[in-house]
Symmetry: C2
Subunit: 387 residues, 2 copies
């Protein structure tokens, strides 16, 4: 998912050398230490052996037919998508998928798009496509659909399954209103389903695309389920956007790397992908429970949001905290080797409660206690009444 | 190389089902049947084992530091490039490299670009970047540099090592004039070094970039040397264009697939890449000699161009052949299961001698004789005086 992605990759490039990170609690990074190296190497070997020489040439612009077919099955079964292979496009992760979707929306006449606030930290793909962003507030039930409709935007970019970064799930009633709007007004929405696979307490929520397959561009990725370094993602595109997507893609590429696509398809078709996800879900849930336990012990006065899914939780800071207090906590922690993020990274709106986002994708169990104690000390030091 | 790439991939999509291809003599496709599967699978395994978990996250936007370092060595040694890793960008094959280069040229103020005529068959990446093409003729010494300069274009896209599709090598005197112009006028040129590795009779010609590293965007690819399905290419960018390239890339991607990049680096660093190229060079040279032998026997009256390098030769049709005759020969052959291409695919200029491009990348030795006999019959049937 690009918000996390852009975030994770950028600090090293943007800033001067910082203190080394001892505790990395930034959101939206999976535990790449548990990447299934053996299964992947074996899947690569099997995919390469199975590939006829004729498929080592320039491939299908939309991606390997084998992976697109495996994804159609997987997304239909696990996420409730309407996804025949002809409307699936393989991308270089979510980043390329979002950039392409924005260009295609612009090509079919969209100018203003509603976006979540707080939402992504990086809007370059939206802005460079010539789209105008209209921020819409979110709460624990996802984006405010009434306000979205009131913007009269011609499209939207949303994270309905687990709003990034707050963590709400778009409620059933909002989904219904959104679908009605999409269909009555012939609008399009980009659904970023970035961590749908990691859901711990709730029943799984199906993708929005399953309710409005002709109005939703669905974006998924293997970055969270396997590893960002694979750079494998996918778009499922409404039929009227397939031809514009082909036209844009022809400018940029001659298909995607074939062997890795077929390796992923192999993992999906043999059940190894599901097994890996079940294993990771257990590990992340246990680690989240540990994190929640420490948060409850060290910071019982603060409420936690968005813990039912994903790879981070949201800590709501005390009511009197300002954006400056929040930034102060983040800087205080960073100075002590703990990397986390505040709401300020994801919004320009200074009103409302302040928040910290605590990722547990890549922190060792043993580091959670010391991290949360440090966090508590930081919050306390900024919570003191000003002299 | 995109000309061939675009060409090879598109016919199946653009046209209705055709007769099956028995003899595939289209240019610009390597012999993917000889892709080193074992070496590649082994390199993937070694690269994955060597990769620390921290490198399985979101990677460097410009590509793997390991591959960029291996390429700096390789390109310096084999192609005479000035190529430190900081100016190297890994791309999804030449297609993405060209598209990015065009956008970056536009971003630094270039509007009109000189292009080779005949040249690429697909200009979508140039046109969509907002660049205006100014066609400049080519001959057996490559693009006519005096005419290029006379266009007053602000940049150029050229194939100096082996002009595509005619096959000329940009002469030393033209290189000098071109470099002088680039430096005096602060112009940029995209050098597509698409099949520099396959050179049979001549001494290797160094890349133009080695003569003007601050004015040349160099583009290379593994599509011809290994297989198009890998989607691995690279750009070497003048220092003033590094930041604009970073800015554009941030819109599209979070780096490139890491494991495959390091696998290619492993092949380069261990000498396996050089060994594979030596082997392929022998095979292609022998196959070319066989092809030239049949052409001399069956069509002794026609002259052959561009045979000293690359994966195709150019057959110059008899002087009275028109564009319609040439298209007739191509259609006649295609109807009989032989796929080849005429000059008409690569130019809109109807004057001058007509040509056929005969690729030998993917034809079996045993099929060369029958193919050339069929070709000779086609040329003869169109060479008969009209009644």
């Amino acid at each position: 998912m690009a918000a996390g992605a852009a975030h994770v990759a950028s600090p090293a490039k943007e800033t001067l050398p910082e203190k080394p990170v001892r505790f990395d609690l930034r959101p939206a990074m999976p535990d790449v230490g548990l990447f299934p190296r053996k299964a992947w190497a074996s899947a690569i070997r099997i995919a390469l052996n199975a590939l006829p020489a004729s498929d080592l040439g320039y491939g299908d612009l939309r991606g390997s037919p084998i992976l697109r077919s495996a994804l159609a099955d997987y997304l239909g079964r696990v996420r409730g998508l309407v996804a025949d292979p002809t409307r699936i496009f393989i991308t270089s992760g979510f980043a390329e998928g979002r950039a392409l979707a924005c260009v295609v929306l612009q090509a079919v006449g969209v100018r203003r798009v509603a976006v979540e606030d707080p939402g992504y930290s990086d809007w370059i793909a939206v802005d460079k496509a010539g789209l105008i962003r209209v921020p819409v507030p979110v709460d624990e039930n996802g984006i405010d659909v009434d306000q979205l409709i009131a913007t009269a935007a011609e499209g939207a970019l949303i994270t309905p399954s687990h709003q990034f970064p707050i963590g709400g799930v778009l409620s059933a009633s909002r989904r219904q209103r959104l679908v009605k709007w999409l269909e009555e007004q012939d609008r399009y929405v980009l659904e970023d389903d970035y961590d749908a696979e990691f859901r711990y307490d709730q029943a799984a929520v199906g993708a929005l695309q399953g309710l409005a397959a002709d109005r939703v561009i669905y974006a998924g990725t293997a970055s969270k389920t396997l590893a960002p370094a694979l750079r494998l993602g996918w778009l499922v595109v409404p039929p009227p956007l397939v031809a514009p997507m082909d036209a844009e893609l022809r400018r940029w590429k001659e298909g995607s790397p074939r062997i890795e696509q077929d390796a992923l398809a192999h993992l999906m078709q043999t059940g190894a992908y599901d097994r890996h996800l079940r294993k990771m879900r257990r590990i992340y849930r246990d680690r989240r429970d540990l994190l929640l336990g420490f948060l409850k012990r060290e910071l019982p006065e603060l409420s936690i949001e968005g813990a039912a899914a994903g790879l981070h939780v949201t800590v709501r800071l005390p009511p009197h905290f300002t954006a400056a207090n929040e930034a102060g906590v983040v800087a205080f922690l960073r100075d002590r080797g703990l990397a986390t993020e505040g709401l300020g990274r994801y919004t320009e709106n200074a009103s409302g409660p302040r928040r910290l986002f605590i990722g547990y994708g890549r922190i060792a169990d043993s580091a959670i206690g010391p991290s949360i104690r440090l966090l508590a000390a930081a919050v306390r030091s900024f919570a003191l009444p000003l002299p």
